[in-house]
């Protein structure tokens, strides 16, 4: 009988424990740590019939440039094992049309709105930001210095320390809203870029963008994607992306947002435990639009079960001394 009483008390306490999933990144307050990644969620509205957008922590909209962009010729995508290649070429409506046509809807949501910004030269980034600064309802910028699919485009910035410093510093100076910087994984040591971005004024980091890859049709002997090389995303990249998030979270003091192949709450929790203050859902939005909502629910369940607040989960990775010495730096 005593046991039964104990069990009842445990149950009651368990029921009472309602974990707090709130997280703050560079002054932007999120109801939960789950955002949708740029380029995988359009301008939000496209998913309004499928999921309750107000449940999301944040939406990072498709990359916006100062002027509208046409993008790359078809074929632009190709499915690979547990992943996909894309070379869209940053097709977008441009900053002005974004403010007029897309932002008013996003403003009606409780969900935080992050605008991904890119350009071909530092001036382009600054020009896009100056236009977007007029947008009420934007919570932060995510500077895309890492798109692998544009000629003379973002990747040059994302794989060059001096250019990274230059574009982050100039953008920070122009930006009216907090500046997140999205890093490229296509570098030898991502922590060097994390540190440079931090020093140049980044308020937070998000990582990673896609990995440059390719696929070939052996019958026609032509590339599967017109751009020849394309960005790999999806579950295939998760272990590598997770390693990079872990390294960067230890290398800088500013918050890190983790992404790469997240399909469920377990994936997201790995990133959070590795030190990410929030996560982004990318490719999974294409084939399972309810992924972000399932991830939020799963994180809540995990916190309930472990009786941990989200803040206690973040960065809670325990590394034994000997394995830390062996880990790749």
């Amino acid at each position: 009988m005593a046991n039964k009483g104990q069990m009842t008390r445990d149950k009651e306490q368990l029921a009472e424990f309602s974990p707090c999933l709130e997280t703050t990144i560079a002054g932007v307050h999120f109801a939960n740590p789950v955002l949708t990644a740029s380029g995988t969620f359009g301008y939000g509205r496209e998913f309004a019939d499928l999921i309750d957008l107000n449940q999301l922590g944040g939406i990072v909209v498709k990359g916006i440039s100062a002027e509208p962009m046409a993008g790359n010729p078809s074929p632009r995508i190709y499915e690979t094992d547990s992943g996909m290649l894309n070379a869209i070429g940053l097709q977008n409506v441009g900053a002005r049309r974004f403010l007029e046509e897309k932002l008013p809807f996003l403003r009606t949501l409780r969900t935080r709105c992050i605008v991904n910004v890119f350009g071909y030269a530092t001036d382009d980034y600054v020009r896009a930001i100056e236009i977007l600064n007029h947008g009420d309802g934007i919570d932060a910028y995510e500077l895309n210095i890492s798109c692998p699919n544009t000629r003379c485009g973002g990747m040059v910035y994302g794989s060059d320390l001096r250019l990274t410093e230059e574009v982050v510093a100039a953008s920070k100076q122009a930006a009216r809203f907090p500046l997140y910087v999205k890093l490229s994984p296509n570098v030898t040591d991502i922590t060097a870029f994390a540190r440079v971005a931090e020093a140049a004024g980044a308020d937070a980091l998000s990582l990673v963008n896609t990995f440059v890859g390719m696929a070939i049709d052996i019958e026609s002997r032509i590339p599967r994607v017109s751009n020849v090389t394309a960005g790999l995303s999806g579950p295939a990249i998760k272990p590598v992306a997770l390693r990079m998030v872990y390294q960067c979270a230890r290398a800088v003091k500013i918050p890190v947002i983790g992404m790469g192949g997240i399909e469920n709450a377990e994936d997201a929790l790995e990133y959070l435990i590795a030190g990410a203050r929030a996560v982004q859902i990318g490719t999974a939005n294409f084939y399972a639009p309810d992924t972000a909502l399932r991830v939020i629910e799963g994180i809540r369940e995990y916190c309930r079960r472990t009786r941990l607040q989200l803040s206690e989960v973040i960065g809670s990775l325990t590394v034994a001394p000997f394995s830390a010495a062996q880990s790749i730096e």
């Binding site: 380029g39 995988t40 969620f41 359009g42 496209e46 998913f47 019939d49 499928l50 498709k62 002027e67 509208p68 962009m69 046409a70 993008g71 010729p73 078809s74 074929p75 632009r76 995508i77 190709y78 499915e79 094992d81 547990s82 992943g83 996909m84 894309n86 869209i88 097709q91 977008n92 409506v93 441009g94 049309r97 017109s226 999806g234 579950p235 490719t283 939005n285 294409f286 084939y287 399972a288 639009p289 309810d290």
Partner: protein, 309 residues
């Protein structure tokens, strides 16, 4: 558009590696307009992520096993036997018996995704996002159809899947129609019987000459167009790129309106991945349009032909 997990009712093999997949989804079947498409997701595969885009070939009220609509109908029949029938019941009975409850997809095994689809059995589940895209019956299309002496359907291979529903709807509206259908071999000429009831003539062609005209279907099409140069046609075309391009050239040469149902690899079907964009006549951002959202049906003049991009 609904995102649902639906049961396989039947996965019927046809010739040449073609199958008709019947899925139990009344809501999606009833929302379908001719020319729209669906995205099929294989469940339980961590290596195959993306949904596959497929034309909605047909919607049906029932295939053999008991289905929702059929069950409703049976209940109504029972009720009716026990109670005096009312007009309302009669109407409901009729509606339940005729309302479509099944979405049918015609596909050919060409790669990993379709190979896995071919293994689906009744009772298995798939993810179905449907109906998607603009079909063949925008108001502007209908006006052109009404102005035409005859509607010419031109199908290449699996492209036939996009044309059956439009042909049926047009037949119900009393339109004159004709089908030109080409394939590599006679095994590719699937679904001809289903189509035949809606058109006055079916013209078949095979590249290997195993059935109908030998060579490309555009040859008998051109003969027909040149024989009937005084007539006004609306062409509806779906098939591989080269065949689309050849048909569009003929439409232009003979001065007929032409609609094309485009295919492309798709990541999402929702208009966000921009993976399915095709090159169209426009400026700047408008140089590319999404097959999934602005299409899949376009006026032939809208599409930039020639460079396959």
């Amino acid at each position: 558009m609904y995102d649902e997990t639906v049961a396989v009712v039947e996965n019927r093999p046809l010739t040449g590696g073609h199958f008709v997949l019947s899925l139990d989804s009344a809501r999606q079947a009833q929302a379908t307009r001719p020319g729209q498409f669906a995205m099929v997701r294989l469940l339980g595969r961590s290596d195959v992520l993306l949904r596959r885009p497929m034309s909605i070939y047909n919607v049906a009220s029932a295939v053999a096993p008991p289905l929702r609509a059929a069950t409703d109908a049976a209940t109504l029949v029972q009720d009716a036997a026990m109670n005096p029938r009312t007009t309302k019941q009669d109407a409901a009975l009729k509606a339940a018996a005729t309302k479509p409850a099944i979405v049918q997809l015609l596909y050919k095994v060409v790669g990993r995704g379709t190979r896995l689809m071919a293994e689906l059995k009744p009772g298995d589940y798939v993810g179905l996002l449907a109906p998607l895209g603009h079909g063949f019956f925008q108001d502007e299309y209908l006006d052109r159809a009404k102005a035409a002496d005859e509607i010419l359907h031109v199908a290449g291979g699996i492209g036939i899947a996009a044309l059956l529903l439009p042909a049926r709807q047009l037949a119900a509206g009393g339109f004159h129609q004709r089908l030109f259908f080409g394939g590599r071999t006679q095994d590719d000429l699937v679904g001809v019987d289903e189509f035949a009831a809606s058109v006055s003539e079916v013209v078949l062609a095979t590249e290997d000459g195993s059935h109908g005209h030998g060579g490309y279907v555009t040859r008998p099409l051109e003969e027909y167009l040149s024989r009937n140069s005084g007539k006004n046609f609306l062409m509806m075309v779906c098939g591989p790129w080269a065949m689309l391009e050849a048909s569009v050239k003929l439409a232009r040469r003979y001065g007929h309106a032409c609609l094309v149902s485009m295919e492309n690899r798709m990541g999402c079907g929702l208009g966000v991945c921009l993976g399915c964009c095709i090159h169209v006549n426009g400026t700047g951002h408008g140089t590319y349009e999404r097959v999934c959202t602005e299409g899949p049906v376009f006026w032939a003049e809208k599409v930039v032909w020639g460079d396959k991009s």
